[in-house]
Symmetry: C2
Subunit: 397 residues, 2 copies
C-alpha cells in the first residue's frame, strides 16, 4: 500500500513562517546541557524552588475528588474559581478587576501570541523596550509588524520617547519589573507617566509581569493595570512563582479585547488543561503563594548578591552592569570594541556560557552586551565562572 | 495612582481577527448545559470512558519519582520517550516513522493552528472535505485562505475532485475515519488514490485522525501516513482514547516541515506541559491503550446502535442518515425544505439539542443537514430525544 517513488513535496512556507527563526537561547541551551558547563545562559527558574510535594498532593486531590471534570474539555476562558481568585488578588481599592476580564492561557507566551494575532497586521507599528524580551519579539514577528524600539535608561522605559514615537502604534510591550533581559525596573514616578502617555495616544499598553513578585526587598511595585484597567493588557504567569513545566499563565484585558482573544484561543488550542488549572487552584487557594514566594525571593537575592560580588572582584573597571532589585537577570555592557558573540566562543571553550545581547534588540543591536542568569548555579560555580569571564574580558580589552 | 478619566481605547483589531468568529457549537453548548436538556449537540467524549484511577496513579508516580523534571521547562518538540513510543506505534513494515518527525502539541487543534501558520498566506488555496470539521475551518480561517470544498459521497472524499481542483493548493485537509461531522469513512480503495493524487499534485495531505481507533468492528484502516510519509501531515490526539481535558496531541510530518512548525510552536507557547506528557507516557507505555480502547469501542458502538434503531423507528422516510462504523457522530439529511436551524429552535423548546449542519461547510451550506452525537446520552434519553425530533420533523414536512 505504499506509494512507489512519490514526488517529494516542494515545501512552500507562508511569508510569516519564512522569516520565523528559532530562539538563539534554545540553541545555546542545547550546547550547555553538559554538566561541566557553568551556564549563566538559562532563563529557567531554579528547581530548588518547586513545591513538588504540594503540587503532587493537589493533582492527587483533584483527580480523586473531581477526576471526570478535571479530565473533560473545559471552557476557553478557563476555570472559574481560579479566575475569581486571580481577579480578587489583582483588584485594589481604586480598581476592581472582574473574572470576566481574565483568560487562562497555556503559559504567558501564549498571551503574547494571541495579542499579536488579534492586534497586529502586516506593517503595524509595535513599540518595544530596548532591549526587550526575546520571546515577545519572536511572538510578534510572526504577524510581521514594524517594530520601533523605545529608549530605556536605568529607571526603565522613557515615556517621552513613547510620546515621540507612539502615534498610531497598535501596542506598546513593556516588562516593568526586573526586566528580561536587563533586570531593570520602571520607577514608580515613570509608571504613571507611561500609563498616561499611552492613554493619551490611545495605544494599548502590555504589562508583562512574570517576575514582579520576585522583589528582593519591600513590596511589589504598583501595577500599571490598576492605574488604567481600560487601557492595559496584563500578563501573569505561574512559571516563576510556582513551576514553569505545567504551562499556565493568564491575561487580563478590557472585555472587548478579551472576548476577541478568546475566539483566537479557541481556534489555537480550544482551552488550557482543565486538570492543571484545577490543581493550581488547589495549591494556591488558601494563600500558599504568600508563604512560598518569600522563600524564592530570599534564595534569588542571595544568588544575585554572590554574582554581583564576584563581578566587582573579577571584572575590569571598563565593564558596567545592572544591579537588579528582583528577578533572575543581570545585564552586562562590555567595552564597545568587544563583541559578546566572540566572548561567548572563548567562554564556551572554557565551559562557561551566557546569552549575547544581540537577539534582545529589535533594531540596532548593541554587540557589546550580554545577559547573565544567576539562579541555577551554585555560589562556588558562580565565582568560578565569573572569574573566567573576567579574565577573558581582560584578555580581549 | 489611578488615571482620572482616561481616553477609552478605540480597539482596532487585525484584519484576521475581525473575520474570526466564535464556535457555533460552543454557543449551543452553553444553552444545553441544563440537566433537563437531551443534548446530541456535544462533541465531548463520554467521561464514563476516562481511566481516572490510572491517570491519578500516573501523575502521582511522575511527581514522586521525577517531580523536578516534570515541573521544569521542556523542549519544544516534546518528551522524547513519548515521541519514541508514538513513532514505534505509527511505523509499519513498509514505512518507518522517526521520533524526529513527531512534535507533541497542546491538543491536535494546536496542530491545525500551527499548520495554518506555516503554510497559509492570505489568499492561499486550501482544500477541505464537504462538510468538514468546524475547528479546522476556524483554525485555517485565521490565516485568510481561499477555501475550496471537495466533494464527498458515502465512501468519503472523492479523489477525482481533488485532481480537478487541487492544482497549486497549499494543503488538503481530510479526516478519513468516522469523520466529524458525518461519521463517514474513506474507503480503502480511495485512500491510495487520494494519496497518489496529492503526491502527483505536490499538495501536502493532512490526515486528521482523532477517531481512527474507535472502529466498532475489525481493525483500524490503513493510515494515509504510511502510504506516503514524505507527503502526509498526520495529526493524532489523546482526547478520544484517553481524556481530552489534559490537552495532548501530536503531529507527524516530514522533517523540513516539522522543524518549521517547531519554530512556530516555540513562538506560540514554548512547549506542551512536561508533566502531562510524562504522565501520559506512564499511562500508555506498557500497552494500556490496547486493553482500554476496545472498551470505548464497545460502549460507543452500543450507543450508536440505540440511536440508529430509534431513528429508523421515529424518523419519517424522507430523512436519510449515515451509518457510521466508528467514532461519535451521525449526519442527518432532512427533506430539502426543512432548515435545521428552524428545527433546532423547535427542538430546544422541547429540551432537545443538536448541531445544525451549516457551520461545517466552508462554502454553499446545505441548510437541511444536522449532526447528532450519541456518546454522552443514556439509551432511554436517546429514544426520547429522537422520538421528539422525529415528531418535529414530521410536523415540519
Amino acid at each position: 500500500m505504499k506509494l512507489e517513488n512519490p514526488n517529494p513535496i516542494d515545501w512552500k512556507f507562508s511569508v510569516r513562517a519564512e522569516q520565523l527563526q528559532g530562539s538563539v537561547i534554545r540553541e545555546i541551551l542545547k550546547v550547555t546541557q553538559r554538566p561541566e558547563v557553568i551556564s549563566f545562559a538559562g532563563g529557567l527558574p531554579s528547581p530548588e524552588t518547586f513545591p513538588v510535594d504540594r503540587m503532587r498532593a493537589a493533582f492527587d486531590k483533584v483527580l480523586l475528588e473531581n477526576g471526570k471534570t478535571a479530565l473533560q474539555y473545559g471552557t476557553t476562558d478557563g476555570y472559574t474559581p481560579l479566575r475569581e481568585f486571580l481577579a480578587d488578588s489583582l483588584s485594589n481599592a481604586e480598581s476592581k478587576i472582574l473574572p470576566e476580564q481574565i483568560m487562562m492561557v497555556s503559559g504567558s507566551q501564549q498571551a503574547l501570541d494571541l495579542v499579536g494575532k488579534v492586534l497586529i497586521d502586516e506593517g503595524s507599528k509595535v513599540l518595544v523596550e530596548t532591549p526587550s524580551y526575546l520571546g515577545a519579539l519572536q511572538a510578534f514577528s510572526v504577524y510581521q509588524p514594524k517594530i520601533e524600539s523605545i529608549e530605556m535608561d536605568e529607571h526603565g522605559i522613557i515615556p517621552a520617547d513613547v510620546a515621540a514615537k507612539g502615534e498610531g502604534a497598535r501596542l506598546l510591550y513593556a516588562l516593568p519589573n526586573f526586566q528580561n533581559p536587563t533586570g531593570r525596573t520602571l520607577s514608580v514616578e515613570r509608571r504613571y507617566e507611561l500609563v498616561e502617555t499611552c492613554a493619551r495616544l490611545g495605544v494599548p499598553l502590555i504589562e508583562d509581569n512574570p517576575y514582579g513578585d520576585l522583589c528582593y526587598r519591600g513590596d511589589p511595585l504598583p501595577k500599571l493595570l490598576n492605574m488604567n484597567p481600560g487601557g492595559v493588557i496584563y500578563m501573569g504567569s505561574f512559571s516563576k512563582v510556582l513551576t514553569p513545566g505545567i504551562r499556565l499563565g493568564y491575561v487580563v484585558a478590557p472585555i472587548t479585547l478579551i472576548r476577541k482573544m478568546e475566539q483566537a484561543k479557541q481556534a489555537s488550542d480550544l482551552h488550557t488543561s482543565t486538570l492543571t488549572q484545577m490543581a493550581v487552584y488547589e495549591v494556591i487557594k488558601d494563600g500558599f503563594l504568600d508563604q512560598h514566594i518569600p522563600t524564592i525571593r530570599h534564595f534569588y537575592s542571595g544568588q544575585c548578591d554572590v554574582m554581583l560580588a564576584a563581578m566587582s572582584k573579577y571584572f575590569p573597571a571598563t565593564v558596567t552592569w545592572t544591579r537588579p532589585e528582583g528577578g533572575m537577570f543581570i545585564w552586562v555592557t562590555l567595552p564597545a570594541q568587544i563583541d559578546s558573540n566572540r566572548l561567548l566562543e572563548a567562554a564556551l571553550a572554557q565551559n562557561v556560557a551566557f546569552v549575547p545581547g544581540v537577539p534582545f534588540y529589535a533594531n540596532n543591536p548593541a554587540t557589546n552586551t550580554l545577559r547573565l542568569s544567576f539562579v541555577t548555579v551554585s555560589p562556588e560555580r558562580i565565582n568560578e565562572g565569573i572569574e573566567k569571564l573576567g579574565n577573558l574580558i581582560k584578555a580581549m580589552s
